[in-house]
Symmetry: C2
Subunit: 386 residues, 2 copies
């Protein structure tokens, strides 16, 4: 038997065929005029999705590489930084800052809870010494989407620059970089941007460049200054060899996003998230995180009592060909996560839920077949279009 496969994880996410094929055309040399045209078009497309006129730096790296660049290009050893963490990727900000010698004050939230902007405001008011605030937009490990608009509002009056990990959020949830005043936004190609992994991005405000000009950390491969120098070349480029195939794919994907329009992209993600949550609840399962209309990228659900979470995801994969994500870190085996950021439509949610209903029975939980599917269908029918 050949099992037809369905990728329903929060990243890497499914990639449209035309995006995959765009990446499979022959190599464009990265110091040619043809490449510069491609790169400029991609930068334009990224500015649209980032909603910014700031510089956008591009790295041949995963999202973590771009996160590292934000830490080493902003915080010198001994500098004080504030990290708001409510999951695995918030913890990554903490680890990166500690690795490179910044002095971290941690606002640590229960996984599944939202970061409270009031706490950030109080920390910044209590102490003017922070050079930067690090937080996460969409916390992929829990599905929580933090309120970046409010966080930006409380950070703005202070000298600290705001750095947001939007790896799984950008292109799924609104993030008005310039309008809200977010200094640094980090993202990657492999989530809502519907492109294979291999490229990561950082948008950098004037304030962030000023902080960078004082940084004493060494940086070479992910150096912002090297990146900016290459951007300012008469033929804009990257300092080191870019993953040209991924760039060709991204070019196509950004065009698709532009055609759909950001507003509709965000609306579609809100509908998908709502359908996933309603389906889980209809099956008698408990959402791991808040039942939040802004939870657009991933839905995290408690594995029911008496069920082995890793067995559940294994059955989903081996019996039904459906790949979903388990829990990370402290909730490994206790939750499962359905991804719906990027190239997802209603029938991906239906597939996820239908296979979940069946797999739950296989592992001994008496789910009501069709009940979750029906709840998702009702959401889509109410919305009419998506």
């Amino acid at each position: 038997v050949v099992l037809k496969r369905y990728l329903l994880t929060p990243g890497p996410t499914p990639v449209p065929d035309e995006v995959l094929l765009a990446g499979a055309r022959g190599i464009v040399h990265h110091r040619s005029p043809e490449y510069s045209e491609l790169f400029l078009r991609v930068l334009d497309g990224l500015r649209y999705v980032f909603q910014t006129e700031n510089d956008i730096l591009v790295f041949s790296a995963s999202g973590t590489g771009a996160m590292e660049s934000a830490v080493t290009n902003l915080a010198s050893p001994g500098d004080r930084v504030l990290v708001a963490s409510n999951g695995n990727f918030g913890r990554r900000w903490q680890e990166l800052n500690e690795t490179y010698g910044a002095q971290v004050t941690l606002l640590d939230y229960e996984w599944g809870q939202k970061v409270d902007p009031v706490d950030i405001a109080q920390a910044l008011q209590a102490d003017a010494g922070y050079v930067a605030v690090f937080c996460t937009q969409s916390e992929t490990s829990t599905g929580v989407v933090n309120d970046i608009r409010e966080i930006a509002k409380v950070v703005r009056p202070h000298r600290a620059v705001l750095v947001v990990d939007a790896v799984s959020g950008l292109g799924a949830t609104d993030l008005r970089t310039d309008e809200w005043g977010v200094d640094v936004v980090v993202s990657g190609s492999q989530k809502a941007l519907m492109t294979p992994p291999g490229l990561a991005f950082v948008s950098v405000s004037q304030e962030a460049w000023e902080l960078n000009s004082r940084v004493r950390n060494p940086s070479y491969y992910v150096s912002w200054r090297e990146s900016k120098k290459a951007l300012e070349d008469p033929s804009p480029q990257m300092p080191w060899t870019p993953p040209v195939g991924v760039m060709l794919s991204l070019d196509k994907a950004l065009q698709l996003i532009h055609e759909e329009g950001l507003e509709q992209v965000f609306r579609r993600h809100r509908i998908l998230g709502k359908a996933a949550r309603e389906a889980a609840k209809a099956l008698g399962l408990e959402l791991f995180s808040l039942d939040d209309p802004e939870a657009t990228s991933v839905t995290a659900v408690w594995v029911p009592e008496g069920v082995d979470g890793s067995e559940l995801t294994r059955v989903m994969m081996l019996t039904y060909g459906v790949t979903i994500a388990g829990g990370q870190g402290r909730v490994a085996g206790k939750i499962f996560r359905l991804g719906h950021c990027g190239y997802f439509g209603p029938f991906d949610i239906i597939t996820a839920i239908a296979s979940l209903e069946m797999a739950l029975r296989d592992v001994g939980f008496e789910s009501q077949l069709g009940a979750g599917v029906a709840a998702a269908q009702r959401v889509f029918l109410e919305e009419k279009t998506w």
Copy 2:
């Protein structure tokens, strides 16, 4: 007019269609059993090409990212290192080491000359304090291939570990990592491995791991220890999201290399290099570097007197659709470079030379049409197979 394009640069290099298409299949999730199988197969294929049983660490990065990992994971600030440089990529070792605080002693050679192993032997004998020796196998900026076998021989009696940049050399020129005792070999996907850019590799000997265990430099995104931990997972993987598409392509390319057989791969590259050099000489051009049978990856040639080098490469590209490389750094505009590492055969050399003969006339140099082509043909006819 649509100009048919020919990519004849030393990297990124042309990629076989089947390798491009292998990368265009749907995304494999990087924490799935299917991915582990793929990754293990790729590691096997890399061990064959690296000729090693050492650990091979894989990064989502360009070659420079893997070079940075070798510097930050081996040399602590203040450590003394020896850098042998005879071109732009030797200089990159110097810059990286200086950026991260190592104390560099530089053996600096004229561009186009080979590194002399005797100089390395003398430096190591004069001073036992070096923790590492950094050098380049194939210096892409000049076409020179350094004698790694002899360099390894003189380094072996000393405590310093030997680190070789083989980004454009690995898979084009013999490099017997284990037999010669090369501690660290750095390479990338986009040169002789016939794969799009996006993956970079480092092989690490036991001695290099010992040096790493004492290193005080911080490292996160390209941390060797993180990489090794992920390799040792029951399902071997990379710590951060890999560029899955590039990995799928690499899997296919490594299979092609295995089918051709390393010995024949090296022989083919020697023939291609010889044909390129003979053709250039037959046109009355002067080779920039030594006329060396081991110069297998790229052929660098002086732009003839009175000709503008950037005009020459521009005409090659715009009139003939042929992309070759100009000079880098101190020889920008003064030399041009024909790439022939990776997926190249005789008629790629013929195309390069025929278009060069024509472009030279366009820019005012009276080349003898067909003379270079004939010289290359004679090389291929003598060899009979390639």
